[in-house]
Each structure stands twice: as C-alpha cells, then as structure tokens.
C-alpha cells in the first residue's frame, strides 16, 4: 500500500505567535516545528504499514525552504521519502489555494491512501482535507478518531456529540485523523540518522502546472484586514479558601446575576 501523509511546518503553538507586516503568519519570530496534529497522521501511516507488513510512506509538505524540517522530522519517525512544494509565489496562500497546490502535487504521486491531521495548529481551519477530497474526487473520511484498512476498504470511527459513528469507504481515499487515534512515537537516534539519507524531491509551481496568479497573497480569495493582539484579561480577585470559598464564590456569581 502506498500512503502519502501531509505535513505542515508551523510556528510552535506554545510560543508567542504573531503576524508579519503583510498580515501573514510570522514564521521568523518564533521557532517552527512539525504541526503536532500532523504527528498523529504520521503515526497512523507507520502503524498501518507495520500491521500490513509492507507499504511505502511519502510525506508531502508545502512551504518555504525551512519547511523541509517538517519532512525530516516525519522521516525520522519512519517512512521512506519526502516531497516539498516550494516556490516564492506561495507566500500568503489561503486554504483554497493551498488545496489547489497540494491536489496538483498529489496528482503527480502514486498513492492508495492520503492521511492528514484534522487541522494545522496555526491556521486551525481544518478545511484543507475536505477540499482535497473534493478536488481529487476520492472518498474523504474526516475527523477519524480510529482508522483501519482491510484490503481496499477503509473504516474510521468518528466520535461526535450525539453519537459514535463508523464510516466505511473504498481506496483510494483520504482520511483526516484526530489526536484520539493515539500518541505519536518519538524519533529514535537511529531514525534521526536514517532520515538524513532519505530522498526529498522538490516541486515548483511550474513543475505542478499551477499558475502562480492563483496562489499567494495576491491570488488569495480572502484577505486579513487587521490583526490586533487581544488585550490581556484584567486580573481579578483571587482568594484562598478558608472554609467559606464556595460561599464567597456564590456571592460573586450572584453579583454577576448568574444565580
């Protein structure tokens, strides 16, 4: 089975993230890393190949030169090869344009299954997987909390507010997995060394036959007009419980008319 896992290099979610002068995500001011939510996708690909005893895993990313680090991180966890779509014209692409480029790259690759995370930790829209399934014309099984592949059939479990639903589709397919699929492994030292020798291919927009006017900040169909740092919340009252903490809290809630 051939699997392509989509990975994204994002500003560390624990860092103090912000915007650049052109109102795109500032990648220079903070450390960037493989999006945590993509690690679950990598893990699921590795588990599938381990279970089936065969398979080939390729990681696909789109981003500036530095995004290659996300490929290396994924490759250090396991898998075979990386593909990096890199082109200056991509800077500032919105979700629709991102899906256009990734779909074009996926059309160049051979795969039975595409696995993605549920969202990136920077944009957090979570719409690229659905857009890709739409563009590729394959079944899209999103919000998967559990993933199984049996022959040419792919089954996921989706846990929503009112039900736990089992959904089945046939390969080729795209699956977006949540953090509920299971803890991702840490790369071993051997894995980190091996990753350095694994092949990474780069594609430009021209290689993919995508018109540069359709992507980037200028080609985006949405525009950020302003970005304002949220003022820190005013520090409130903190008391130490001396046996009447619950009563005092009730008084506060009554003042706010919550009771």
């Amino acid at each position: 089975m051939k699997i392509v896992v989509l990975v994204k290099h994002v500003p560390d979610a624990a860092a103090d993230r912000g915007f650049a002068a052109d109102l795109t995500t500032d990648r220079a001011a903070v450390d960037c890393r493989l999006s945590e939510l993509d690690e679950y996708a990598v893990e699921q690909a590795l588990v599938l190949v381990e279970k089936q005893g065969e398979g080939e895993i390729t990681y696909l990313t789109m981003g500036p030169e530095s995004a290659g680090e996300a490929l290396r991180k994924a490759l250090s966890m396991g898998g075979d090869a990386g593909v990096h779509v890199v082109d200056d014209a991509l800077h500032g692409s919105d979700a629709v344009a991102t899906s256009l480029v990734l779909a074009a790259a996926l059309k160049k690759l051979e795969w039975d299954l595409v696995i993605t995370g549920m969202a990136s930790t920077d944009g957090t829209m979570g719409v690229v997987p659905a857009m890709l399934a739409e563009r590729l014309g394959v079944p899209g099984l999103t919000m998967a909390g559990k993933l199984d592949v049996e022959g040419t059939s792919v089954t996921i479990r989706r846990d929503s507010d009112d039900a736990s639903t089992t959904i089945t589709g046939s390969l080729p397919a795209l699956v977006a997995v949540t953090d509920q699929t299971g803890e991702a492994r840490y790369p071993s030292f051997k894995g980190i060394m091996a990753a350095k020798k694994k092949p990474v291919t780069t594609f430009t927009l021209a290689d993919l036959g995508v018109d540069a006017a359709q992507v980037g900040l200028a080609g985006a169909w949405t525009a950020v007009e302003t970005a304002t740092k949220r003022p820190p919340r005013q520090a409130g009252t903190v008391i130490t419980d001396e046996g009447d903490g619950g009563v005092k809290l009730a008084e506060f809630l009554a003042t706010g008319k919550f009771i």
Partner: protein
Amino acid sequence: MAEVLVVVDHVDGAVRKPTLELLTIARRLGEPSAVFLGTGVENATAVLAEYGAARVYVVDAPEIDQYLVTPKVDALTQIAQASSPAAILVTSSAEGKEVAARTAVRLGSGLLTDANDVDASGVATQSVFAASYIINAKVTHGSPIITVKPNAAAPEAAPAAGTVENVTVAYSDLSSQPKITGVQPREKSGRPELTEAAIVVSGGRGVGGAEGFGVIEALADALGAAVGASRAATDAGWYPHAFQVGQTGKTVSPQLYVANGISGAIQHRAGMQTSKTIVAVNKDSEAPIFELADYGVVGDLFKVVPQLTDEVAKRKA
C-alpha cells in the same frame, strides 16, 4: 435586496439555536433565505420565518441522510448557483465546515471559518493563535462563505414570509462515497450543548478521576450549565472526548466559565479564554488559570465546589 443563504442546522426539523443566530446575522447582509436539507421541514418553517427567513429552500431526499456531506454540497452548490447570494452562512461545526469547504471549491468562493461575528459589510471577526489575536478578514472572491461559531449573536425575532420552495437536486455520482455503517448514539445528559451553553462548568487534572466528575456535574446541574473537560481529563479517560474544551476539542464562549482543577495550559486557554466571565478553583495558587480568572479560589475543589453547589441551590430555592 440580495439573498443571504443560511444553512439550517437541525435534527429532524428541530432547528438548533446557532441557526437562529445565523439568521439574525444574515439580516445585516441582506434578505435571509434558509436552506433546509433533510426531513422534518414542517417542524422548522415557523421558527425559520419568525427569525427572518423570507424563503425556505427545501431539499428532502433520501440521499441527504444516506451519505455524509456530498449530497448536501450538491444541494447547496445548486441553490447558490441559482440565487447568486451575497453570502452563505454555515454553522461552524465539523460537518458545517466540511460542507462549506467543499462548496467553496465548487463555487470558486473564498472561505472564512470560525467567525465570532460578521458585520454589515461582510467583515468577519476571528480569534486566532489560541485566541491571543483578534483579526478582521474578508472574502474577496465569489459569494463569500463564512462559518460562524455558536453564540456569535443573540437571536432576534424578525418575522418574514418563510415561503417554502422545494428544490430538486441533480446529485453527483455517489456510488464511491463513504457510507455510515454503524451508529452508536451517545447517552443524552439532558444538559445544554457545550458550544451553545450560557454557562460551562469544566473539570481537569485536579478532578483526579472519572468519579470526581460527579461534583462537577452536580454544580453544572445546579447552574443549568454544560459540562466540559480539559485534555488531561479526556486523555485519561475520565470524561468523554466530545466534551473536551481546547485546541483539539471545542471552543466555547459562554457568559460564565467555571474551571475546576484546570491549570490553564495554552491548549485549554485556546478553547475558553473568550468567555465573558471566568471563575477558577485550583489548589495551586501559581496555576496560570488565575491570570485569566475574574474570580479565583485557591483551595481543594472537593470542598469548594460542593459548598458552591449547595449555596447555588439555596439561593435559587
């Protein structure tokens, strides 16, 4: 006046509150038309009309419920192509976002998700980077598609005609579409929906175990609140994942958020820091949650919370 399509979020025709919020927002942008997909419209038309739907487009076909989102995308795309709306508003749920995403690709429309508000010029307000930034963004191409979070507006009645128009949809080839092969309904708690609730009472690592959530639920019930949980609590299996508040769970913005035994890691703050009033109970006085709290109690939640529950019951009696 230009039409604004509002996709109705409903269960067998019982319209969920976020749809009434969307109708209220839609009136700023033009004349709302509800898009009702599935069965049960006879239960929905009155309330949709009451909240301002001049038209109700209805697609009641077996395909809608048999498959996941594709038939809904087929329907919404065709209704949008026929009506050239000024905007398409969808609830920011997992399914809503998926329908919106696919429709954006088909229509050639820009897409904004998770809006906290949309003004009369179509500018959406969004909270980003774990709610540390507020951005204003606009769609610049095609009929704007915007998914809006619950609690973005207070629903306001504005009676309109609510004229029903049945629509026949030409479905795309559904033969290769994924199918629902099993459904295990979740037990109903009788509490309000987490993302829609005016008050949310949450428990975290400090609750200590599944049985500890009893005191959290008791307070929630006294306040008429929904129950939430931190990732630490859901990962440990103490409370179901569907109730997780945070970056990988639900984002809530209630009038009151009560955090119990939650330290306030960035992953949790991302899901709750836009709450109007925040109250915290934690035995660690250094817990970052106290930086956000309007009122905090440093103490044992198993003493403070039951006392609060009793006091709430007393005051309500």
